[in-house]
């Protein structure tokens, strides 16, 4: 493992320890689980045709839509998922275990079933969707909002569960100290609680965003697949796979590169500071 510098971050005087060999071996094995398929993917990329394959309208539309919907879904997840995590971690109420279980629902359901469940509930003929449609004319399926909803449904559990775990780990006396300094509950949340669970929050955000970006099954089932409106990158990949593997592989590469670029850039700017 010669390439691993045997130092840990930041503090110069901190003791550098040789990490246990078995741990490193296992970790490298873990890495292999991700690296090997990636290499497999790379090995099938039609490098010469790549520029042509990627310059189509289809790709740019799908890329734009994917970015918009996945980021919006992440934002929505933060807005309503962090409060939900807070409630689960901090309030005691009957049925809390059940609610916690419910949060894992989208993980367990095959996304296609999740999408169908969304349809049953919020589709044109859905339990809530029908009255909603009649009252407001709002129709979620086949709309970009529908994509955002499907993404949120599938991806939000990652944020909720990660943040809840971190909140339960936090020493609450820091929050008490902050409130004794005059900080109201919102200020405490914004300036103490969330920053203190920073790394876990970021981990949750990364998971959420990545999951939303890659979301396919619920989206196609609930929101359909129309270029420019509901066709995100994974949908484009799936359709392409039907006919031409090269296109599908090329598109997948785009997704991987985009997400790597975003994550690495974020980390350089933001995560490092934590």
């Amino acid at each position: 493992m010669g390439f691993i510098a045997l130092t840990t971050e930041r503090r110069e005087a901190e003791r550098a320890r040789r990490p246990p060999v078995l741990l490193v071996v296992l970790g490298v094995l873990g890495l292999a689980v991700f690296a090997v398929p990636f290499i497999g993917l790379l090995s099938r990329v039609p490098w010469t045709d790549l520029p042509e394959l990627l310059s189509s309208d289809l790709v740019t539309d799908a890329l734009r839509l994917s970015m918009v919907t996945s980021l919006t879904a992440t934002l929505v997840a933060v807005l309503i998922g962090v409060p939900l995590a807070w409630i689960l971690a901090r309030l005691e109420f009957p049925g809390r275990s059940l609610v916690r279980g419910l949060v894992t629902l989208p993980l367990v359901l095959p996304p296609v079933v999740g999408g169908a469940a969304l349809l049953f509930a919020l589709g044109r003929r859905g339990l809530i969707g029908e009255p909603l449609n009649q009252a407001t004319g709002l129709l979620l399926p086949f709309s970009t909002s529908g994509v955002v909803l499907a993404n949120t449904f599938v991806a939000m559990p990652f944020l909720v569960i990660t943040v809840e775990g971190a909140l339960r780990n936090l020493d609450r006396r820091y929050e008490g100290a902050a409130s004794s300094l005059g900080a109201g509950q919102w200020t405490v949340l914004r300036r103490i609680t969330l920053p203190m669970i920073g790394p876990s929050l970021v981990a949750g955000l990364v998971l959420t965003w990545a999951r939303a970006l890659g979301e396919f099954g619920a989206t196609i089932t609930f929101a359909g697949n129309l270029q420019g409106r509901t066709q995100t990158l994974p949908l484009a990949v799936f359709v392409a796979l039907e006919s031409d593997r090269d296109v599908a592989v090329a598109l997948s590469l785009v997704m991987v590169v985009v997400s790597l670029a975003v994550l690495v850039a974020l980390r350089e700017r933001w995560w490092k500071a934590l």
């Binding site: 006396r173 820091y174 008490g176 100290a177 004794s180 300094l181 005059g182 900080a183 109201g184």
Partner: protein, 365 residues
């Protein structure tokens, strides 16, 4: 020192539980401009009291009022949140926010109360300089030494100019120089500070220097309170006696003779009969190689259990029949050739023995 009417100070009379075993019953009133030191053994409930007054723990009954405003009154359903109490707290383990720099930590209270970022940082820098922390503004708390961290906690509490100060062992981690410096800073600040102040400390010198009044709390109950001199001269519990550096004996007096265990002690005071507390200052006990002649009415032979060398003075703990602590000058100690395990004669003038009527509560503790 401006002292206002009690209604404008702190009135804390309440009860609460912690876990299954611990119960705190506090009854404390501090007028504005006065400093009360809260002392007591570990686990007595001092930090609990601070947390309750700051609004971080829920009292079960009673009332806490500050400057005429009721902060807590479970009976009346009043329960002001911590951020609405203008209380400055130094926590025993500081609780500095690990993700904020030293300056941001200190500025936090000001910012929370609406001051602009730049103004609050300027004020924070000001206080950091006053507490000799200039240069550390940009550090994260994890990179501070223990004493530096404690001073930051102090700055963070003082900068908000609260109505009430609660200081939980604010100087325990400071080095001697800084401590006496800080004690002076604190003393000056406390004198300028118009509100009531509560200081927790284990250092009697600190308590006696800073406080106008000392409250002693043991096992969740206030066992004695009074001016520093009252505590020092007439401690009523073994803990208070340790604090005062005094010897405290519980006995039964009859006509100027007190029975302590199976031993008898002559008193100058003949007026008090029944349960008594006897206090004997260590320096009032003299030690001799041979039975001393002359006036001391109380003397007996005993063994030296422990010798502690305090520099100019030497502290000697003696054994049966009555364990006492005596203090002699270093010269006397050398001259007498004291050593642990040796036997020695001990003498106490009856006039040097303080006598107080005992009460059930104290002697039962």
């Amino acid at each position: 020192m401006v002292e206002g009417p009690l209604g404008e100070g702190l009135e804390a009379r309440f009860e609460l539980h912690r876990g299954d075993e611990f119960r705190l019953e506090l009854d404390l009133a501090i007028p504005p401009g006065r400093t009360v030191a809260l002392l007591g053994p570990n686990g007595a409930g001092k930090s609990t009291a601070v947390a309750a007054i700051a609004g971080l723990l829920q009292i079960e009954s009673g009332r806490i009022g500050l400057a005429g405003v009721t902060l807590d009154d479970p009976g009346a359903g009043i329960n002001l949140p911590p951020e609405s109490r203008k209380v400055g707290v130094v926590f025993q383990d500081y609780l500095l926010f690990p993700h904020l720099t030293v300056a941001e930590n200190v500025a936090f209270g000001l910012r929370s109360r609406g001051m602009s970022r730049s103004n609050s940082l300027a004020r924070a820098a000001d206080w950091l300089t006053r507490l000799d922390l200039a240069g550390l503004e940009k550090r994260k708390p994890a990179l501070l030494s223990g004493g530096q961290a404690q001073r930051v906690a102090l700055a963070r509490a003082l900068v908000t100019e609260p109505d009430l100060l609660l200081l939980d062992e604010p100087l325990s981690a400071l080095d001697v120089t800084t401590r006496s410096e800080m004690r002076r800073v604190l003393d000056r600040h406390l004198k300028e500070f118009p509100g009531p102040r509560l200081v927790i400390t284990h250092d009697p010198v600190e308590a006696f220097l800073l406080a106008d009044e000392v409250h002693i709390i043991e096992k969740g109950v206030v066992t004695q309170w009074g001016t520093p001199d009252e505590i020092r001269l007439r401690p009523r519990t073994p803990y208070a006696a340790d604090l005062a550096g005094s010897n405290l004996l519980f006995g039964r007096a009859t006509a100027g003779l007190a029975q302590v265990g199976s031993h008898h002690i002559h008193l100058a005071e003949h007026g008090i009969d029944g349960d008594v507390l006897l206090t004997i200052r260590p320096s009032a006990i003299s030690l001799h190689r041979r039975p001393p002649e002359g006036s001391p009415r109380n003397m007996w032979e005993t063994t030296i259990e422990l010798i502690e060398d305090l520099g100019e003075r030497t502290r000697v703990r003696t054994g049966a029949p009555l364990p006492l602590t005596a203090e002699v000058t270093a010269e006397a100690s050398t001259a007498l050739g004291l050593a642990e395990g040796e036997s020695v004669w001990l003498a106490i003038k009856a006039t040097e023995i303080g006598v107080e009527p005992g009460d059930g509560r104290t002697s039962s503790s």
